[in-house]
Symmetry: C2
Subunit: 286 residues, 2 copies
């Protein structure tokens, strides 16, 4: 089912963007807008109206947890540099009450983190009941960067895939809906966005010479992502590949995926745990 | 100086709302709109345009920290129940990039927290360089609730006032601008807001019978706040008492106070730490 507030979908984004069996990353076009028949202006209008729906769902999710519900949502964002993770956080997640959001940005692991299993730092940031959690990069770095840079051998990568599936199944069993998103940009679009960061003094701080080093490993990363999809796109915790050359589409699609997850939970306002009429009298007496 | 984007101030809110010597809380009117000559609609329009200015300042603050700047902002929110702390977080702080915000809500202390000094849990949540930190309640609970409920004797409260002043001076020395805000509502307005929570099923979860218990201690709380202002309104970390019966005014005023703090920092885009022209060539060769 598509979000009530987004009007121009012709197919359910949770269906058309989902990684199913036989999925081939190289067959997906980063410029496409699967399932959406509108243009940029329609997309922006739909994003705007979707914000309200998302904000209301989030408030109900939060409220329900105060009544004891265990449900939470975890959005996992993975992508090559400049693909727009930050824009998703700003323009999609930024539309809901900050009090209901738990954002975790995973950088290069520290010495302490490296001394533990790769899931150690991840487990500490799992969203609590009622929260919308966002992982800006995640445990998937440990099977992507680790593979491309040969920081772990193939046996260890395989062990990690199994550990990830087990870990995520455990989260789902606890009531956490996991939405795993790869923002898929093209090699050409990345060049253009990196160039913009070099051209604009107010963007210089976003550029890192290491970005070009990683860019030179593009085919290795695409191959590592393909393996990730083959090994960790599970029924419990599906992957969605979102074409991201058009920022407006990527934002709209991720919003739709979050709306879909929340619609699946359908959180309800909790019943009061006190006597409403008695409290009205107590209050009136003050 | 008043915010460039808020047009209807006739006096600087950072001046008129600041707790100075001789301040008397009971002399302040929670319904007033000090320094602002507009009405509700003007206030909303000014809040809207202020959001953009705040978002830009926040991005520059964040960027500057990537260049090594140590500056951060810490907004401390204290208030009686229903005064609108949540609305400030949602409508003022919620307008900036979530990636630049560190929000800490301090609830009733846990056993572990009680086993440590009262500042132990606070120190762990101090915003990092570049961040806009928000304390939803704070170490001031330990000289407010603690006093009203006699959880600590007067000598201990005095010790805490000194500890707070020393702690905050240390933060300021590290580059953190502290904006301490008490949202000031009237006893009558609180009754009306609590009543609304009891009248609306979608608000029931926000009501707690303990809210009326605390309400019955209103004069004790006001007296405890007065002491807080007398002992902890310092040059380094000033207090602002913001009339909060009109939500639109309170939000606008807190936004103005944040803009004022950021204007004082005046964060700058950092200079690149790499050779821009050389990187353009490297990128073009990919």
């Amino acid at each position: 089912m598509t979000a009530k507030s987004q009007h121009n979908w012709t197919a359910d984004p949770a269906h058309v963007l989902r990684v199913g069996s036989g999925f081939v990353l190289s067959g997906r076009d980063p410029q496409s807008t699967p399932g959406y028949e509108g243009m940029k202006d329609d997309g922006r209008a739909d994003l705007e109206s979707g914000l309200e729906e998302l904000a209301e769902y989030q408030e109900r999710l939060f409220a329900a947890s105060r009544g004891g519900a265990q449900d939470a949502v975890l959005l996992v964002l993975q992508a090559m540099d400049t693909a727009g993770k930050g824009g998703i956080v700003r323009h999609v997640v930024g539309g809901v009450d900050p009090q209901g959001v738990q954002l975790a940005a995973f950088k290069k692991p520290t010495e302490e983190e490296l001394a533990h299993d790769f899931l150690w730092r991840i487990q500490k940031r799992v969203p609590e009941p009622g929260m919308l959690g966002v992982f800006d990069r995640s445990h998937y770095e440990d099977v992507l960067v680790a593979r491309v840079h040969r920081l772990a051998d193939e046996a260890e990568i395989e062990r990690r895939f199994d550990a990830i599936n087990e870990f995520e199944a455990g989260l789902v069993a606890r009531g956490i809906r996991i939405v795993k998103v790869m923002l898929h940009i093209s090699y050409e679009e990345q060049a253009s966005r990196l160039r913009e960061r070099l051209d604009r003094p107010d963007k210089h701080w976003k550029y890192n010479p290491g970005d070009v080093d990683e860019r030179l490993r593009w085919p290795h990363y695409m191959s590592a992502y393909q393996s990730v999809f083959e090994r960790t796109a599970t029924e419990a915790a599906p992957w969605f590949v979102v074409p991201a050359d058009r920022k407006w589409y990527a934002r709209l699609a991720v919003q739709a995926l979050l709306l879909d997850a929340l619609e699946g939970i359908d959180p309800q306002w909790p019943a009061p745990t006190y006597d409403v009429e008695a409290e009205k009298k107590r209050l009136a007496a003050t």
